[in-house]
């Protein structure tokens, strides 16, 4: 019975196959980005920065960079310290590289984790509906009414050995909610579609329908949300660090560097400590956002440029 149903289900997907009729999702996205010059430049910039920081940080010794040097406090940029040093005599350029890597890693990991959890919960909830939907959505509602920032701040002060892993996990714990709600609403629409009904009637398993048949139809919305979330997540880490709930100074991040500007003397007289990091945050967020907008248009045939 099961075998038979799988056989019957495959022709159902066939109309989507012919390559000459409609281009694949990725190629549409790519074409959209290439068409939009701003998005293209943004994409190249993000890729270049990412590549640069990940490669360079392999060559840098983090312990050496965060080492306090009493003889080089608050040095302005020079040939020895490309971007000067901070109030602990630590090289800003090195911190910027490692900080960007840390911040990017956090943003990417958080985005991926929240994406996976959100999609899973949303899909299950939307596809099955009824009691399961009700249950899952009440869990989501519960997390949603918690004051997010408060909980994160309390968590950060309470956790010993607070670091990148802990931060990533607590962020993930709250940030999957939006995606779950979004995917659920789409899945609710999708499950009423005839192909789902047909597949079900012909005996396909729920798992197969959800992940092989419904999920691909939601892929565009997932990609769009996650790209835009990536930009927001970079800002989130920086924001918390700025408020004083970031990482210890031995773990450089973009937010930590910017937060040095809370000291008015640093803000006024030592621009090299905070300005590069601030510009980098701005550039990264803007660029990722630009790419995200292009992807969003690609997902909607009516808005496409190319």
């Amino acid at each position: 019975m099961l075998k038979l149903s799988t056989n019957k289900a495959s022709p159902q997907a066939r109309p989507r196959q012919p390559a000459d009729k409609s281009p694949s999702g990725l190629s549409i996205v790519w074409r959209e980005i290439v068409q939009d010059k701003i998005a293209l430049v943004s994409f190249i910039l993000v890729a270049a920065v990412t590549l640069f920081v990940y490669v360079t940080s392999l060559l840098l010794d983090q312990d050496q960079i965060v080492r306090v040097d009493l003889f080089a406090l608050k040095q302005p940029p020079s040939s020895e310290f490309l971007l000067g040093t901070d109030q602990g005599g630590r090289d800003i350029f090195g911190q910027l590289i490692i900080g960007t890597r840390n911040s990017l890693t956090i943003a990417i990991v958080v985005t991926l984790l929240t994406g996976i959890i959100g999609v899973l919960v949303g899909l299950v909830s939307g596809y099955f509906g009824g009691t399961i939907d009700n249950l899952l959505m009440r869990v989501v509602d519960f997390f949603m009414i918690l004051p997010f920032l408060m909980v994160v701040i309390a968590f950060i002060t309470a956790v010993p050995n607070y670091g990148i892993t802990a931060f990533t996990l607590i962020m993930t714990a709250f940030l999957w909610l939006g995606i779950a709600k979004l995917i659920r609403s789409k899945a609710l629409q999708e499950r009423e579609m005839e192909y789902v009904q047909a597949s079900r009637t012909s005996g396909s398993s729920h798992l197969k329908i959800m992940f092989v048949q419904v999920l691909p139809n939601l892929s565009s919305i997932i990609i769009v949300t996650m790209t835009l979330n990536l930009a927001a997540n970079i800002g989130l880490e920086s924001g918390l660090s700025f408020l004083g709930f970031g990482f210890p100074e031995s773990t450089p991040s973009l937010g930590t560097l910017v937060s040095y500007a809370r000291n008015p003397q640093t803000l006024e007289m030592r621009w090299w400590i905070w300005l590069p990091a601030s510009i980098l945050i701005l550039v990264l967020m803007l660029c990722i956002n630009n790419v995200g907008q292009a992807v969003k248009r690609a997902a909607d045939a009516r808005q496409r440029k190319g």
Partner: protein, 616 residues
């Protein structure tokens, strides 16, 4: 005021690394008639011609606290009336327990200093004098004191301050329902206080009211520290608090919203935690105050420079020292500075607190129990360099546990332990801490990981702690650093007696009292003995220091010299930096001084023009 600081300040935890007892300023206390006993120069000896010439840094960019004056140079004539803005530097609101009997935080004491004061003042050697609101006479044996309150000393509401009020303060503090921090060894030294506290007596037998304005108190033990702060000198207005149950007093509006005192200014209005407006108390016993109005507001450390430049505040109680070098040439203020009665230190956890017995319990098996390990950690850090680099010389290498703010008792001939990383490695090697890879192991071969906690606050806090960690790494010790916010920090160090066993080493700071007796910080029965160190020799020296024999000053000096040596030998904690206190004062302010014994009082503070000077 000073008294509270004394009994309290041994207990007072300095807020973060740079916030120290601003309440020490004599102007706030208004009762320091004597010349400064600290290392700061006497400004009156050489009136500087150009008023606000900033103390100059030498060619290495270093400042020296002895170049600072502790008295404001007057410019111009005092204006009749006028108002003044005072900045309370703090990154949190003040608690608002505005009564000497109940308050506990330093910020509150800064608020209190403007509108209330103690009955006694003291002189250069911190001994009570007869220049305050009350005079005293001691009996032959030094145990009985008779106090006479001046006739013109009145509460803000016009009621006279009576001996009954003074007795009432003792009764409230000794009451079983009392929830403030003042019931301490000074209190129990009053004859009959413990019986009263335990409910065995209805009255305190050692306190007699001799008349409206006369009070006699008998103490159990005559000690040299009795007349340097061992007496409770703050009366409590019985006509106001008499009807309030003791348990409810500290939360009452009479403490929180419309507090009362006897000082030169009275509280007009309060925005809780943020600001206080004071109006002149024309009836003040010393004379009519010069200003019509004083506004106190809380200023965040990160805004304080802007506020000063724009004239938004005229005076700050305690300026964050790490911001000074960048602002030394601010044109509209004059910088005052004194050696602070405080030191920063690194402590080692050597035991636990036994709450029931009220004693420390040293643990011979504690991770840090080996004195060689502790000594090596002291040898590994270069505090001289730290002071010069991080603080431009405004904090400097500390050697013993009695800071130079007590010049007589501070043993300058004791070099402490000097910086010698190679010696530290050798010491560890000989003590059996062998290198295994990057780090050393314990003598028994097991792994040694030391947990170090430090306070956040100010931009120097974390690099400084990091510096210590890496210095220790350099001699092969594996040290983990955790930065904690002020309250969490002291919680884990053990200010409630429940020490966090995972803490091995911590960096903190103490403000010390006017009396040098270290019992409150290093005694066997002191909760604030955070290192939980105790030894018989230590007990003996502390007891000797306040014994009757110690009335002989030479003997007392000898005892504390020995105690400082003992502490350098045993190293339950080691001092890292001595500190200076800086206060910028707007050029329009007259008759202002900081530090001890300036001969200036709060009521004399005046301004020379209506508007503050603004920085160019």
């Amino acid at each position: 005021m000073r008294k509270t600081i004394r009994s309290k300040s041994w207990l007072l935890l300095t807020l973060s690394l740079f916030l120290v007892l601003a309440a020490c300023t004599s102007n706030n206390g208004g009762n320091d008639p004597s010349p400064s006993p600290s290392g700061s120069p006497d400004a009156s000896a050489s009136p500087s011609p150009s008023a606000s010439a900033p103390p100059a840094a030498n060619e290495d960019g270093l400042f020296n606290i002895s170049d600072f004056s502790n008295k404001k140079t007057n410019q111009g004539e005092p204006l009749k009336g006028g108002s003044l803005n005072y900045g309370l530097v703090s990154d949190t609101p003040f608690a608002g327990t505005l009564n000497y009997v109940f308050y506990s935080g330093t910020p509150d004491s800064e608020v209190l200093g403007w509108f209330d004061e103690g009955m006694l003042t003291w002189d250069a050697s911190y001994v009570y004098t007869n220049d305050g609101p009350a005079t005293y006479e001691a009996s032959e044996d030094g145990k009985t004191f008779t106090f006479t309150i001046r006739d013109n000393v009145n509460w803000h509401d016009g009621q006279p301050v009576t001996a009954e009020d003074w007795l009432f303060a003792h009764e409230v503090i000794g009451h079983p329902d009392y929830d403030g921090p003042r019931y301490d060894s000074n209190m129990t030294n009053v004859v009959g206080m413990e019986e009263y506290h335990d409910g065995k007596a209805d009255t305190i037998s050692g306190i007699e009211v001799l008349g409206d304005k006369q009070l006699r108190i008998t103490y159990k033990q005559a000690t040299p520290s009795l007349i340097t702060g061992g007496i409770w000198t703050y009366p409590l207005a019985k006509h106001i608090f008499g009807d309030i149950p003791v348990a409810k007093m500290s939360a009452s509006p009479e403490v929180r919203e419309k507090p009362i005192g006897i000082g030169p200014y009275k509280v007009e209005s309060i925005v809780p935690g943020e600001s206080v407006v004071y109006a002149k108390n024309a009836d003040y016993w010393r004379g009519e105050p010069a200003l019509d109005k004083v506004v106190l507001k809380v200023v965040n450390p990160s805004n304080v420079v802007q506020e000063l430049k724009s004239g938004g505040i005229d005076i700050v109680g305690d300026f964050p020292i790490d911001q000074f070098p960048d602002n030394a040439d601010m044109s509209n203020v004059e910088w005052l500075g004194v050696v602070d009665r405080a030191y920063t230190y690194i402590g080692f956890k050597l035991g636990k607190w036994d709450a029931e017995a009220g004693q420390v319990v040293p643990d011979a098996n504690a991770k840090m129990a080996d004195v060689n390990l502790r000594k090596a950690m002291w040898m590994a850090v270069d505090n001289d360099l730290v002071g010069k680099r991080f603080y431009n010389g405004l904090r400097w290498n500390a050697t013993t546990l009695i800071p130079p703010s007590h010049p007589e008792y501070h043993d300058a001939s004791n070099p402490g332990v000097t910086y010698d990383p190679e010696g530290a490695k050798k010491l560890l090697e000989e003590a059996g801490y062998k290198l295994n890879g990057d780090f050393r192991t314990k003598p028994d071969g097991s792994e040694l990981t030391i947990n170090f906690i430090s306070m956040t606050g100010g931009e120097i806090a974390e690099p400084l702690a990091q510096y210590y960690v890496q210095s220790w790494k350099d001699i092969g010790l594996n040290v983990n650093l955790e930065m904690l916010e002020f309250n969490t920090f002291y919680n884990r160090v053990g200010d409630t007696g429940e020490d966090d066993p995972s803490v091995d080493v911590y960096q903190a700071a103490w403000s010390v009292g006017i009396d040098v007796d270290p019992a409150g910080l290093y005694g066997r029965d002191a909760l604030y003995n955070f290192s939980r160190f105790a030894s018989e020799e230590n007990d003996r020296l502390i007891a000797e220091g306040i014994s009757e024999k110690a009335f002989d000053k030479a003997y007392r000096l000898e005892v504390y010299k020995e105690w400082q040596e003992l502490m350098v030998k045993e190293i339950p904690v080691f001092p890292t930096l001595y500190r200076s206190a800086l206060a910028p004062v707007n050029n329009r302010v007259l008759n202002y001084a900081i530090g001890d014994g300036t001969g200036m009082y709060v009521y004399q503070i005046a301004v020379s023009q209506d508007q503050p000077f603004v920085a160019e």
